[in-house]
Structure formats: C-alpha cells, structure tokens
C-alpha cells in the first residue's frame, strides 16, 4: 500500500468507528449546544448584545469542544492495535495524516452544526461573504486543531488524566487558530482583507503538519 492509500484507509476506518460510536455528533455536539445556551443566561444579556457576541462565543466553544472531538476516545488506539499496525507495516506518518484527515472532517462537521445552532439562538448580523469565509476559516481551523489534538493525543496516550492534560497542551497552542478564525469574520465586518488571517492559519497548519510527519516515528514509539 502506498503512503496515501494507508492514510486514507486509516481515515476511513476512523470515520466508520465514529459513525458507529457517534461520540462527536451524539455527545460532544449536544453538550456544545447546551453551552451555547448557557452563555446568555449566565450573563443576562440583552437580545442585541447576544447577536454581537455570537461569533466570538462560537469560536470559543469551537476550540473547547473541537479539542474533545480531536481527542475523542474512538480515535485512541489500544497498545494491541498499535502493535498490529506496526507488524503489518503501517507508516507512522501515514497514521498521523490519516488520523488528522478523519479528525478534521469530524471537527469541520461539528463546527458547521454548531454555527447553525449559534445563528438560530443568537441571531447575529453577518456581513456579506461570511459563508465562504466561514467555510474557509472553519476548514483551516479544523485541520490545525486536529493536528494539535493528534499530536497531544499521542504524547499523552496511556497517562492518567489524559483528557485534561492533552487539553492543557492543546488549548494554549491553538491560540493562532482562534485568532486567525475569529479575525477572519472581524475583518469582513471592518471591510478589510481576510488574507493575513487566512495565511496565519495556513502557516500554522503547515508547520504542525511538517512537525507531525517528521516526529511521527518518535510519536509512535512514545505512545507505546
């Protein structure tokens, strides 16, 4: 099997497992939507203010719950499964790429569903061109966050308090993604170019992809 066919096969298996388990859409998404409802209630905000903070709350919840998608239990391999993959000659870099692909697809779907919920509950006034910009920024955000989540998931595999520790590692490192994604919509509101923010997310995603592939072998050894 070639590198890409290995990566695509791993992504396909991950998505099949997720379709069966439903961790993202049946557990994480409803929890994120509940959190979306909690914000205005807790802050006691007026209707007009709720619309203004909607996109910011969306990205804040996007990073917090997107981490849970990236670190989902169904994407954590058991030691036996890792040994099996090593024996059949799965390239660790292909494993990283495949896992990132499946995680990015799930995170993107999660973000789209959360965005629709945000629009319904918060009613923000979105500037023209928001939808294509949102698609672009959400895709880059999903890829970057999943790369980080995959790296953190491998680094913390088998450790007690894994979820909390991996979240502590991912949340601060995701800052460039949050800045890039939130400023893309802000730039549209101000009538400015979104290019610098898109480039920031692309640069971040590329740097993480290069690191993930370069460190795939030590990551594989580390996770045992």
């Amino acid at each position: 099997m070639t590198f890409w066919s290995q990566a695509l096969e791993i992504a396909r298996v991950d998505l099949s497992v997720e379709r069966r388990v439903g961790e993202t859409m049946r557990v994480v998404l409803p929890f994120a939507v509940v959190s979306l409802l909690v914000f205005p209630i807790a802050l006691g905000l007026q209707v007009s203010v709720v619309g203004e903070i909607g996109p910011a709350v969306f990205w804040a919840l996007g990073v917090l719950f997107g981490m849970q998608v990236a670190l989902r239990q169904s994407a954590a391999d058991s030691p036996e499964r890792r040994d099996l993959q090593a024996l059949v000659g799965v390239d660790p870099a292909a494993r990283f790429v495949g896992r990132t692909l499946s995680g990015a697809v799930l995170t993107f779907a999660f973000l789209m569903a959360l965005f629709i919920a945000m629009v319904v509950f918060y009613g923000p006034s979105l500037p023209p061109g928001s939808v294509p910009a949102l698609f672009l920024s959400s895709s880059l955000f999903a890829i970057g966050l999943t790369e980080l989540g995959t790296l953190a998931g491998e680094i913390t595999a088998g450790i007690r308090n894994r979820t909390a520790l991996a979240s502590l590692i991912v949340a601060p490192l995701a800052l460039p993604l949050v800045i890039g994604a939130s400023q893309t919509l802000e730039a549209l509101v101000r009538g400015e170019s979104i290019l610098p923010w898109v480039l920031l997310m692309i640069a971040n995603g590329l740097a993480l992809a290069v690191l993930g592939v370069a460190l795939a072998k030590p990551l594989e050894e580390a996770a045992r």
């Binding site: 450790i159 520790l165 590692i169 601060p172 490192l173 690191l211 460190l215 580390a222």
Partner: protein, 236 residues
C-alpha cells in the same frame, strides 16, 4: 569553590552593577520612574525566549542522540523559562497599570500571547510530572518541547504583526531608540540575568543528576528477600 557558586557570585555582582546603573539612569520623560522596570522586564523575557529555545534544542538533540543529558537540559531550561516568563508578565502588568492605567490590556497581543506561552510550558511540566518511566518521559517531553516552540516566534513578533499599545523592540539592527544611559543599564542587566540563567541551569541539572542517582539506588520492597537456592530446599 564550586563552579555553581562562582556563577551565582558573578550573577549577583553583575546584578548589583545593573541595579546601580538602572537607578542612576535618567527616568523616561513620559513614564517617569516606572521606566526603570524595563531593566527587569526585558531581561526576564529575553531569558524566557532563550530558555524555550534551549528547550527546543535539547529536545531535538534528545530525539537524535537519546542521551539523558539533553533531556536534563530541556527540562531544566523549561523550569527556569517559566519562572522568568512569570516575572516578565508581573513586571509588565505593574508597568501597564502605571503607564496605561490598566494591568491587563486585551488589546495587547504580546501580553496575551506571553500568558499563553506560559501555560504551554506549564503543560510541558505537567506532562513530565505525569510520567514515571524516564525514557518515556524524555521521549514525550522532547516531542512537546519541539512542537511548543512553534508559537514562540509568534509571541516575539506579535508587537510587529498586530497594531498594539505595546512598545516594539527598542534595540534593532539599525540602532537603538533609547538614550545611551538607559540602553547600557538594560544591556548590563541582560548580561547579568543571562549569567543567572546559566547558574540556575547548572544547579538544576546537578539536582536532576542527583535525583536520577537516588532513584536508581532506592531500595524496593522485597529487595532484601533472596530466593532460596535449589540445593538449600529440603525435600518435604
């Protein structure tokens, strides 16, 4: 006298000189006496960037060479770096409260990104604390040490990338924007803090070596119990 004492002595001497120069440099026309905080704030954050750079280097070298000394170097440097990042944040907030009228300004990306950098390396320390096996700990920390460094240039250049109240770099390749007395005081303090960093690193690495020695010599429950030899076992 041990080399660590010499280093700490040298650092104390240089810091005394730096303090004297800082207190005798003219105050800034707008910031007044608060401008003297630059003599702690800038060297602290310079050390933080240096420390996290050394961590990335130590981590990369561990991944290549697998020698324990590179892991010790990376781990010691993170601890010192986190300490100085904390000092840099606190002095920056004191300065911001006095000069901007607010300790924490959300419009300042340098402040927010430095705080984030602080938490990234706290996560690194938490990861180290969660793993008992030395090789697994070294391997996983080395990977995080390399990945975590990705955001350090963003923190450093945030004052250039974003419109912010935070002053940009005062010392540039084309010269300095500071008066000579203030510049000399700041540079002496940078040197003093760097020597202090080397002393702290040397001391921390010595402690790490001693800890490793103690761990390997530590008796385990049951160590004193010897299995009987076959010849000593009587038939029942």
């Amino acid at each position: 006298m041990s080399r660590i004492r010499v280093l700490f002595g040298l650092a104390a001497l240089l810091m005394a000189v730096g303090l004297w120069l800082a207190l005798n440099a003219p105050p800034d026309a707008l910031q007044g006496e608060y401008s003297r905080l630059i003599n702690i704030h800038v060297p602290s954050l310079w050390l933080a960037f240096l420390a996290f750079g050394v961590t990335a280097l130590g981590s990369m070298m561990w991944l290549i060479r697998k020698r324990p000394r590179w892991d010790r170097l990376a781990a010691a440097s993170v601890e010192v770096g986190v300490l100085f990042t904390g000092i840099g944040l606190v002095t920056g907030m004191i300065w911001g409260h006095a000069v901007w009228g607010i300790a924490w300004d959300w419009g300042d990306p340098r402040l927010a990104s430095t705080a984030v950098m602080f938490f990234v390396y706290l996560g690194y320390m938490a990861l180290r604390g969660a793993i008992d096996d030395p090789v697994t700990r070294a391997r996983r920390s080395a990977i995080l040490g390399v990945v975590a460094f990705v955001q350090v240039p963003l923190v450093y250049f945030s004052v250039n990338l974003f419109r912010t109240l935070h002053p940009t770099q005062s010392v540039r390749p084309d010269g300095s924007t500071m008066p000579d007395e203030m510049l000399i005081a700041m540079l002496v303090n940078v040197v003093a803090f760097t020597v202090l960093y080397i002393a702290l690193m040397a001391a921390r690495i010595d402690v790490a070596i001693a800890e490793e020695g103690a761990d390997s010599e530590q008796a385990l429950a049951g160590d004193a119990v010897k299995p009987p030899k076959i010849s000593e076992v009587e038939d029942v």
